[in-house]
């Protein structure tokens, strides 16, 4: 008996070789995009100067350039661009996990209401003028709001002490609306200036990123990514159905709880630093699956890379389109992403039909 080898034409857009090339391309693309991202902005920095500054700062090579450029590159643009990558990667990972958990392609990181909770808390801090809230910093307040929402949705989304995906979905939607109502009410009471800040935050923005925003988000997204990769087989088993997954050794109640916690935590830290950037977590997992098929040992790493690259690109566009003003990231993620996703889906179905 002869079995076709793994290398021969597979059922997906990209075979094993294409997948390897794509991963390498994404890594290279990430480096190029980060350099471009650092160079772009109200004060453009030539690529040479970006490379020279980063070389001196990261590797201790060369003399670098003048102090003003060094400050712009190192204190503002580089952390911002890195955070864009981390946020994009984190949202995409959370999207992959949520879509696997509820076995629904429409799921995204926000169906648990986490972002709505973060928005409500952040809006309260920005509009109520409570010194205690403002003093903590918006990310801390937003994370507290996200975490509180997550606990509430988890408590409501259980049946007989176990997570029940449909019930949790409903609980997430309901709590999300509740939080959105709170946010809207606070917005009505806000001054025009506060309102502009609130809107900018809710639509997601990386403006004003400093190095202090990076460590927590980066570590959490990395840990979540490692956990997701370690459970790639169990994620695949989940797609075979509850009975099949159980019969193949997945402890479903425990695994579901793990998934919810990892996805919600990943979403919460990302939303806390960047606001409610939409569409990335919905789109990137689909793009990854269309390219390399649904197996999670390929989808998880590719989604992390694609999501990171995509948000760095979008953040560049946000600074270029209306320069010197900036657009909120969330507007551009959907404006650019939605047509691309539609095109890719149509292309994929045409190929299946043909």
């Amino acid at each position: 008996m002869s079995l076709p080898s793994r290398q021969s034409a597979g059922p997906y857009l990209l075979g094993a070789r294409g997948h390897a090339a794509l991963m390498a391309g994404c890594l290279a693309g990430a480096v190029v995009l980060v350099v471009l991202g650092v160079g772009t902005g109200a004060v453009p920095v030539p690529i040479d100067d970006v490379v020279a500054t980063l070389a001196r700062r990261l590797l201790g090579w060369g003399e670098g350039v003048d102090l003003a450029t060094d400050t712009i590159v190192w204190e503002y643009r580089f952390p911002r661009t890195l955070l864009a990558f981390v946020v994009g990667a984190g949202l995409s990972l959370a999207g992959v996990l949520m879509q696997a958990l509820v076995r629904n392609p429409l799921a995204d990181p926000y169906i648990l209401g986490v972002a709505s909770g973060a928005s409500a808390a952040a809006t309260a801090a920005m509009t109520l003028g409570i010194a205690a809230l403002a003093g903590l910093g918006i990310p801390v307040v937003a994370f507290a709001g996200a975490a509180a929402t997550m606990v509430l949705v988890l408590a409501l989304g259980r049946r007989h002490g176990r997570i029940d995906p449909p019930r949790m979905l409903l609980a997430g939607v309901a709590v999300g609306y509740l939080m959105a109502a709170v946010t809207s009410y606070l917005q009505l009471r806000a001054t025009p200036e506060e309102l502009a800040n609130v809107l900018f935050w809710i639509l997601g923005s990386l403006a004003g990123t400093s190095w202090s925003d990076l460590p927590v988000a980066t570590v959490v997204v990395l840990v979540c990514a490692v956990l997701a990769l370690a459970r790639a087989t169990a994620l695949d088993l989940l797609s075979l159905g509850d009975d099949a997954a159980s019969s193949l050794g997945v402890d479903l109640p425990r695994f579901r709880l793990e998934l919810v916690l990892v996805a919600a935590l990943c979403t919460a830290v990302v939303v806390a630093v960047a606001g409610g950037i939409g569409f990335v977590g919905l789109m990137i997992p689909h793009v990854a699956r269309l390219l390399v098929g649904p197996a999670h040992r390929r989808v998880v790493p590719l989604s992390l890379l694609l999501g990171g690259c995509y948000l760095v690109l979008v953040d560049i566009l946000c600074r270029v389109v209306q320069a010197p003003a900036e657009l909120p990231v969330g507007i551009v993620t959907a404006l650019v992403g939605a047509p691309f996703l539609i095109w890719l889906l149509r292309r994929d179905s045409a190929e299946v039909a043909g």
């Binding site: 790639a232 159905g241 019969s247 193949l248 402890d251 479903l252 098929g293 197996a295």
Partner: protein, 265 residues
């Protein structure tokens, strides 16, 4: 003869309702055992308790003497028992990926397959006759092909016991015989829920009949599926004779006639 599966005093409740109310059942080594019963009789719940998807409220499910709920982890139980279950809708994984997932209870968490895993997958693929399908997406398969793939996935785990929940549903006649023939040919002990009495007669060594969450009869097919029992459990009249081609029992069913309905049991 030793029993691969021994179920004793099994109870499963859904809220207030007892779905299984004290079920005893054995699958001897190498036997194909049919599980018959009307819809709602508890067949699926029994199978799900066996392959560790529903935790029983009381009783024991033992595979090779080990209680799958108390003595074994989910993975250890999955190494002994493999299930052919319904697919939850279109699946974009390739056939190869699905069959390889049958090795999940044996492989490490990082999804790598070792040489023994690959060998087991190759044997399962050959037994199920699906080598030509390996690169297809599951969503493009016909019903019969899909069930063969699920059987291959189960066999890839080299289980001591196969559990199949109505594996012939929605299959054409040839595919029904094909699939159950493959189950028999695999030589693995099996517990199969079926609706079709003729298929049970043709492929099962023994049958258990469930009604109202209890086993109401068990034994060789011809001894168990008497006209009286079939009338009582399935609500149809039946004429039993010998299949002219296979020599196995043949069941010709008909709606209950009023005279039969009025007969005292």
């Amino acid at each position: 003869m030793s029993d691969v599966l021994a179920v004793g005093g099994l109870e499963v409740r859904l809220g207030e309702r007892a779905v299984l109310a004290g079920v005893d059942l054995r699958v001897p080594e190498g036997a194909v055992v049919g599980l018959l019963g009307a819809n709602g009789s508890g067949k699926s719940s029994l199978l799900r308790a066996v392959f560790r998807a529903v935790r029983p409220d009381a009783g024991v499910v033992a595979v090779d003497g080990a209680d799958v709920w108390r003595d074994l982890s989910a993975r250890a139980a999955a190494r002994r028992t493999a299930a052919v279950t319904q697919m939850p809708g279109p699946l974009e994984l390739s056939v190869r990926e699905v069959v390889e997932l049958g090795r999940a209870p044996h492989a490490s968490g990082w999804g790598g397959l070792a040489e023994p895993d690959r060998a087991a997958v190759a044997r399962a693929v050959e037994s199920a006759g699906i080598a030509h399908l390996m690169h297809r997406r599951c969503s493009t398969l016909s019903g019969g092909e899909r069930q063969r793939v699920l059987l291959a996935r189960a066999l890839a785990g080299e289980p001591r016991l196969l559990v199949l929940d109505e594996p012939t549903n929605h299959l054409d006649v040839a595919a029904q015989h094909d699939l159950l023939g493959l189950v028999r040919a695999s030589g693995t002990s099996a517990l199969v829920a079926l609706h079709d009495l003729d298929l049970a007669g043709a492929y099962c060594d023994l049958v258990h009949v469930l009604a109202g969450g209890r086993v109401v009869a068990h034994g060789p097919v011809v001894d168990v599926l008497t006209p009286d029992l079939v009338r009582a459990v399935f609500g149809v009249d039946v004429h039993v004779d010998t299949h002219p081609l296979t020599g196995r029992p043949r069941f010709s069913t008909a709606p209950l006639t009023p005279t039969h309905q009025e007969e005292p049991r």
